[in-house]
Symmetry: D3
Subunit: 331 residues, 6 copies
C-alpha cells in the first residue's frame, strides 16, 4: 500500500526483526514507533496501567508494560497457519502510549480514561486497549457508545463481571458489564460471554441471562467446541461489536499471571482459535485486561496476551479486507 502524503513521519511498521533485533528498540507494542497523530480507521494501542478496581491479587497496573515487553518477541508477519492478512500492510497502527491514571483514585481515573478515549472515538480511531484490570472497560465503552450507540459485546472471561458493586458504592472490576448494560452502552441481546465458571452465585449468572446475555460457561464451551461457539458468537454479535478479553478466561496453567484465576479454563489453542475466528464481525474496539506480571515468573501470560493482541490485529485486518482492497485500489 502506498504511503499517504504527509503521514510518513507519523507511523511506520515495526522494524524487520532481521534488521532491528528484538532485544533492542523502543519498548512500544511490537516496537512500533510511538505516536498520537491519528485519523479515522487508524488503530491506537493504548495502555491503561490501573488496577485499583481489583478485589484479590493486584498488579495489573503493570500489564501494559508486560504486554509491550512480551510483544518484542513477535515478528511482524501474519501467522503462517492462519491464512490471515499481514496487519501492518493494511492497518495504520500506532502505540499511543498510556492514559495518565491516578493509581489510587478509581473515580477520577474512570473519568480520565473516558476523556482520553472520547476524541479518538469521535475521530473514528479504533481503540485497542492494554489493561489494567477490568474496571477500565467501562469508560472505554462510554466513549465508544457516545459515538456509535449501543454495541454488541463479545466477552471472554471466567467471570460475568455483572455484579452490583458488592462491598461499597463504587464501580469496580466485577461490575463493568452491569453498569454498561444499565447505561445502554452494550445491547445484551447482541452480546455473549464465553468461559464463565468457578464458584459463582447462581444469582449473578441468572441475572445476566434474564437481562438478555447469552452465557456460555466454561463447561458448556468444553462441550460445544471452538467452531460451534464461534457460530453462536457470529449469530449474536450483529452490528458493531466490542471484544473484551479477560486473560483469566484461560486456564491458570496457560495464564498464571492474573488476579483472580479460575481452574478448568480454556487452553491456549482454544483462545487463539476463538480470536482468530472473529474476522467476520464488524469490530469497534478491543481490550485485553487483567495481566498481572508479578504472578508470571516465566512471562508466559504476557506472551500469550501479546500474541492474542497480535492475533486480533490480524483478524481486524481480515475484517476490513473489502474496505482495504477498495482503499488499496484507490491509492
Amino acid at each position: 500500500m502506498a504511503a499517504e502524503p504527509g503521514r510518513a513521519s507519523s507511523w511506520e511498521p515495526p522494524p524487520d526483526w532481521q534488521e532491528g533485533p528484538r532485544v533492542s528498540g523502543p519498548y512500544t507494542f511490537m516496537r512500533i514507533p510511538p505516536g498520537r497523530h491519528l485519523k479515522a480507521g487508524d488503530v491506537a494501542i493504548i495502555g491503561v496501567p490501573f488496577d485499583a478496581g481489583t478485589t484479590y491479587r493486584p498488579g495489573a497496573r503493570f500489564g501494559p508494560r508486560a504486554l509491550r515487553t512480551a510483544s518484542a518477541h513477535l515478528r511482524p508477519y501474519p501467522r503462517q497457519e492462519s491464512g490471515l492478512f499481514p496487519p501492518f500492510d493494511r492497518l495504520h497502527i500506532l502505540d499511543y502510549g498510556d492514559v495518565d491514571v491516578i493509581p489510587y483514585d478509581l473515580s477520577e481515573t474512570m473519568t480520565r480514561i473516558e476523556q482520553a478515549l472520547t476524541p479518538l472515538c469521535e475521530a473514528g480511531v479504533f481503540p485497542l486497549i492494554l489493561g489494567g484490570d477490568h474496571s477500565i472497560t467501562l469508560p472505554v465503552l462510554r466513549a465508544l457508545a457516545a459515538k456509535h450507540g449501543s454495541l454488541a459485546l463479545v466477552h471472554f472471561d471466567a467471570h460475568p463481571d455483572y455484579w452490583e458493586p458488592p462491598l461499597g458504592r463504587l464501580h469496580y472490576h466485577g461490575s463493568t458489564f452491569r453498569f454498561a448494560a444499565r447505561e445502554g452502552l452494550i445491547d445484551l441481546d447482541r452480546s455473549v460471554q464465553v468461559g464463565i465458571r468457578g464458584t459463582l452465585s447462581s444469582a449473578v449468572v441468572a441475572q445476566a441471562e434474564a437481562d438478555g446475555f447469552h452465557v456460555i460457561t466454561g463447561d458448556a464451551f468444553a462441550k460445544l467446541g471452538v467452531e460451534e461457539t464461534l457460530g453462536r458468537i457470529q449469530a449474536r454479535a450483529r452490528g458493531l461489536a466490542y471484544v473484551s478479553l479477560d486473560i483469566d478466561c484461560v486456564d491458570p496453567a496457560f495464564a498464571p499471571g492474573t488476579g483472580t484465576p479460575e481452574v478448568a479454563g480454556l487452553t491456549s489453542r482454544e483462545i487463539v482459535a476463538l480470536v482468530r475466528g472473529l474476522g467476520d464481525l464488524s469490530l469497534a474496539g478491543f481490550d485485553l485486561v487483567e495481566v498481572a506480571p508479578e504472578y508470571d515468573p516465566a512471562e508466559i501470560t504476557a506472551i500469550l496476551g501479546a500474541n492474542l493482541v497480535y492475533e486480533f490485529l490480524c483478524t481486524l485486518a481480515h475484517s476490513r479486507r473489502d474496505a482495504l482492497y477498495n482503499q488499496g485500489a484507490e491509492t
Copy 2:
C-alpha cells in the same frame, strides 16, 4: 435449613464475600470460623503439615497453609455449571486446625495423626484432610477403619504408592497403600487407582494388580475419558469409600507445586470432572496431599487444590442429598 438449637455458636458459613472481602478475615479454609466442637455428620477440615515422608522435593509441610490461603479466593456458592448443592447450606463444616506433628519424627507423627483422628472418626465426623505428603493417609485410614472396617479406595495419583519401603524400615509416602492393604484398612477388590504413570518398575504395578487393585494408568485414562473412568470407579467402589487425591495426578503444567511431578498427566478440566462425578458413592473420608508451595510461584497448584477440596465438598453435599432432605424436612 434451620439452625439446630445449641449449635449456633459452634459453626457458621463462610463470610459472604460481598461483605467480608476475600483479602481479610481468618486464614482458615474459605475463612470458615475455626472450631473443634463436632458431632456425627459434620465435616472437619484438618491440616497435617508434615512432609518428612517425602523422597524427593520437600515442602508439603506448608501445604495446609497454602491450601487455606488459596481458598480465600473461593466464593461460598456451588459452581454454576455443576448443578450441585451449595455445600454450606447442607453440611456442617468446620476448620479443625492442624494436627500437632513433629516435623522430624515420622513414626511419632503417624501415631499422633491416628490419635487425633480416632475420636473424630468414632464420633462420625467426616475427615477432610489437607496434607502434607502422602505418608499421612495411612494413619487416617487406620482411624477410619477402626470405626468402619475395610474401606473402598478411590485413589488419584501419578504413583501407586504401593512400594515396600525401599530405603529403610519406615513407612514413607510411597508405601501408604501397601501398608493399608496389608493391614486390611482398604479392600483392594473395591479399590481403583487413576492416573498412574512415569518411570515405574513393572513389578510394583503388577503387584498392585495381582493383589486386586484396579489400576487405570495415565495412558489408559487418556483413552477411556472421564465418563468411562467414572463408570469404572462407581462399579468398583461399593460400600463406604475413601477418596485420596495426590495433586501429582495432574500434569505439572497445571500443578507444578509438588514433590515428585510426572509429565503427561491429567488436565484441570479432567480432574475437576472426576471429583465432581463421585457424588453417587458412599463417602467416608477425603484427603488432598502433596501440594508443595515452594515450587508454586504463581500459586496455581494451591488454587487448583483448594478448588478440588471445594468441589469435593459440593459433591459430598450431593451424595448426602437424601439424608439432607430428610433432615431438612424434620427441622
Copy 3:
C-alpha cells in the same frame, strides 16, 4: 503473673514451640489464639489488608498475611541479647483479626478503619497495626487522637509521606502525615522522622521541617549512628507517642518486598537496635506497613517485619515495667 479471673478463655500466650510445632497451629501472629474481647491495657494485633493507596508496586494488601505467616517462626521468648522482658508474661496480647476493608474503595476503607479502631482506642486497648500501605495510618491516628489528643510521632521511613495528594483529590499513602499534622492528630514539635532519602523534591522536606518536623535523613542517620539518633528521638517524643514503621526505611537488600524501595537504607542491625531503644517512651500505638510479599521471594522482608513487631512487643513490655510490677504485686 497470675491469670485474671474471667479472662482465662479470652487470651493465652502463644504455644510453646517445643509442644506445638511452628509448622502447625493457627495462622495468627505468633500463633496467639484469635480473639476480640479486650480491655484497657491489652494489646490488639490488627491487620489492615489494604493497598489501594499505593502509587507504585502494589501488594501490601497481603502484608498482614505475610507478617502473620512469618511470625510462626518466632519463639515466645525475649531476645537473649536484649535484656528485655518476655512480652507474653506481662502483656495481654490478642490477634484481633482484620479490619474489613473494601479493596477498591479508599475513602470508605479509611472510614471503616477509623470506625473499627475507635471503640478499641476508647477502651484503652493498645493498637498494633499490620499494614497495608501507609495510607492506613491516618485513620488509626484519627481514632487514637480522639481519645488521647495530639500525639508525638516516631516515624521510620524512606519517605516523608508529607505530600499534598499529588495526582488527585484523595488522601493516599504519601500524604498521611500532612493530613495528620493538619488535623492536629500529631504534634510535629514532638515528632521525628528517621531514614528519609531518595529522589525527593526539596520542597516536601523543607515544608516538613518548616512545619516543625525533625527530619533525620538516611545520610544523617548514617553519620549520627543508632545511639545518637535514639537520643534525639527521646528528646523529641515527649508525652504519648505513636510509632509508625514503614519497612522501606530499611535498605532493599534487607527488605526487597515493598512498594517503593529506596537504596542506601538502614541495615537490619540498625533498625532492630532503633526499635529496641524506644522502651523509655510513653507508647500509644504502633504500625508496621508496606510489606508487599509478591516482591519477597525468600520471605526475608516478612521475617524482618515480624521480628520488628515482636521486638516492639518486648520494648512495650519494658516500657510498662513499673505498671506491670505494680499490677503483678496486686494480683
Copy 4:
C-alpha cells in the same frame, strides 16, 4: 544380558533408586556413572552448554545441568504404560560429560563441537546431545554426516530454523537446517518438521517446503493428531534418521523455560506419544535443545525434557530390539 569382558568398569546402569536415593549420587544423567570409553553401538549422553547462538532469552547454556539435575527424579525402568524395553538392560549408556565450549565464541565453539563428536561418530557411538541452543545441532550433523552421509531429519520445533542468518554473517540458532540442507547433511525429501507456528514470515516456510521439507504446522498437527503424524514421519524418514527436539515445540504452559516460546503448542501427552512412536525408525542421533532453566522456576521444563530424553532411550532400545535379541542370544 551378560556383562562383556573388560567392560565392567567402564559402564553400569544407574543406581537402583531403592538403594541409592535420588537426592544423592553423581549429578550425571539419571546418575549413570560418567565415562568416556565407548565403542560402536554405545550411547553417549553429551552436554553442550552453549547459548551464544540465541536471539532472544538466553540461558540454555545451563540446559545440560538442568536436564541432568531433573533426571535424578527418573527411575531406571521403562514406562509402565509404554510396553517398551528397559533401556539400561539393552543399551550401553554413558554420560560423556560436556563439550568444552567457549561461551562467547560461536564460530570456535561450532568447530570444537564437531571435533568432539567426530571420533565418536566414526566409532559408531550413538550421540545423544543435551543442549544448549539450537545452533549446536549443525556441528553434530556435520560429524554424523561425515560418517553416514546425508540423513533423514525428524524435527520437533515451533520454528523452522531455516532462515538465512538475518542479522549478520554467522550461523545462529535460527539457521541450523538451512545450513544443514545446503551442506547436504540432511536430505529434505526424507525430512519432516512438526509443530511449526507463530509469527513467521510465509517466505521462510515456503522456502523450506520448496526445498523439499515436509512441514506440519502446529495447527496442522492439532488436526492430524498423534497417530497420523507418526504415520507421516515414518513414511518420510527412510534410512538413517536424526531426531532434533526443540523443547519449544511444546506449549509454554508445559515448557516455560525456553528462549523463544510460542503459544498454542503441543501438550506433554502429545510430545511424549510422538517420541514414543519413533521406535520403527533407523535412528542415528538425537538432541534435546533450548531448555533455559532461569525461566523455569518450578523445574517443569527440565523435568519434561529429562523425561523426553529417557523416553527416547526406551524408544531407541525398542528400535534395536532385533539386534539386541541377536546380541542377547550370542552372549
Copy 5:
C-alpha cells in the same frame, strides 16, 4: 533555564510525577521523551542490550530494559541529602534508544557500537551507556578516544577485566581494559580500579599493577573507606575521565542480578557515596553494566543501578556547575 530556540521539540524534562504518574508514560529512562537530535554538551542515554561476551550467567542483554523500567520509580529531583544540582534543570538529557546489536555476533556488534558512538562523540555529546555486559565498554572507549585521546579511567568492579582472552581469540567481557590499555584508549597511570576481589589469579592483578593501574581491592577499600578512596581517585584521574561501573562491585545481597557475583563486596551506601563523590573530575563518559534481570526477582539490582545512573547525572550536573552558570547567564 530558558529553552533554546529550535530545541523545544527535541527534548524535555521527565514528567512531574505528580502529574504523569510513574506507572504510566514512555518506558525510557526516567520517562524522558526519546530522541536522537543531539549537540555538544548534551547527554545521550544509550542502551546496549548485548551479553554474548559473558562467561557465566547470561541475561545482561535485558539490562537496558530493566534499568529503564526501574528508573520509572525515580523522581526528577536531586537527592535531598546530596546537596547536588537538579540534573534536568542543567543538562540536556535524551534517551537515545538502543544500539542495534546482533545478539550472537560479538565482533560485528563491537563494530556497530563503535559506529553508533562515533558521530555522537565527535559532536561532543556525553555518552551514558546502559549495558549489556562489560565487553561493550571497549568500543565505547574506542569512539571516545578517537575524539579525546587517551582517557583516565575510574573503574568500579569486582573483577579487573584485564585478562588476555582466555578461551579463544575474541575480546570478551573479561578483557576490556587489557585491550583498552594496549590500544592506548586509557592511560593506566591516570586510572584506578575499586572493589577488585574474589578468586583471581595473582598474575592478572599483578599484571594490571605492573602496567600502571592503581588497584584498590575490596579488602583494601573496606579499610580505606569512602573518603580516602575518593581522595585517591581524584589524585589519579587527572584530565578527562571515563567512569565504568560494573554492578558486581556491589555485594550480591545488594545486587543479586548480575552474571558473576562476588561475595564481600561494597554496600549500597558505599557505592552511592562513591558515585556522588566524582563531581570534581572532568567527566567524559559513563557506563553501568552487567545488570542481569533474570537473577533479580525483586528488581533491587535494577533499582540500585537506576539510582546510580541518576546519582551520576546529578554528579555530572555538579561537575559542570561553572559552565552551566555561565551558560545560564548567557541565556
Copy 6:
C-alpha cells in the same frame, strides 16, 4: 609439588577456567574430578543431602547440589587479597560424592553417615562436609572423635543447637551440640559459638554457658568486631578443632536460602574474614550446613556458601604450611 607415584590418576586440580570453561565440566565441587581413593592428609569433600532433621523450612537436602553448582563459578586461585596459599597446590582434595542417606529415616541416616565417615577419619582424611541440615554434624563428630578424642569446636550459627529434642525423642537439627557435649565428642571448655541471636529462651543459652561453652551472641559480635572475636576463638580452640558453619549465622539479606533465618546477622565481609582468620588453629574437620536452595532465587546463598568452603580450603592450606613445606622439601 611433584606428583606422587601412583596417585596421578586418583586426583587432579580443578580445570584451569581459561581452558575448561566454567559452564561445562563435571558438577563436582569446583569441578574437581570425583574420586574415593584417599589417604592421610587428603581432603574429602562429602555431600550429605539430608534435611529430615529440620523444624521449619525444609530443602537443605539440595544443599550439596547447590553448593557444588555455585562452586563452578570459583577460579582455582587463592583470593588475591588474602595472602593465603593456593589450596590445590598444597592439598590433595577430592570430591568424594554423597553419603547415601534415606530421606525419611533420620535414625538410620545418622548411622549411615557415621559409617561412611569412620573409615575416612581412621585413615586420617580431612572431612569437609556439605550439608544438609545441622543434624548431620553429630555423626560426623562421632566418627572424628572415635579417632581423635574430644575436639574443640568453633561454631558459627544463629542458634546454639543445644536444645533437648523438644518435640519428641529423636536427635534433630537443634540438638546437635547438646548430644555432642554429652557424648564427649566436643570439649565445651575449648569451644566457642559465634552469632547466636533471635528469639531464644534464656534457658538454652544459659545451659550452654553453664556447661562451659563460650557464647558470643550476634549483638556481642557486633561490638567485638572480627579481630577481637578471632582472638577469643584462638584462645579457646586449643588442640584439634572442628569448625561447623551454619549459613544462618549470616543475615538473611546475604543468605536468604536457609531454613530458619534470623535477622540482624553477620555480613558477608564479616564471615569471610572470620573463616580466613582460622589458619592458626589445628583443624580436624569442617562443615557448611543449612543451605536451602529453594529459598535462594538468585543463588546468592549458595555462592556465599561455596566461597566460604573455598576460603576454608585456603585457610586449611595455610594452617598446614609447615607440614607442607616439609613435605614439599621431601618430594
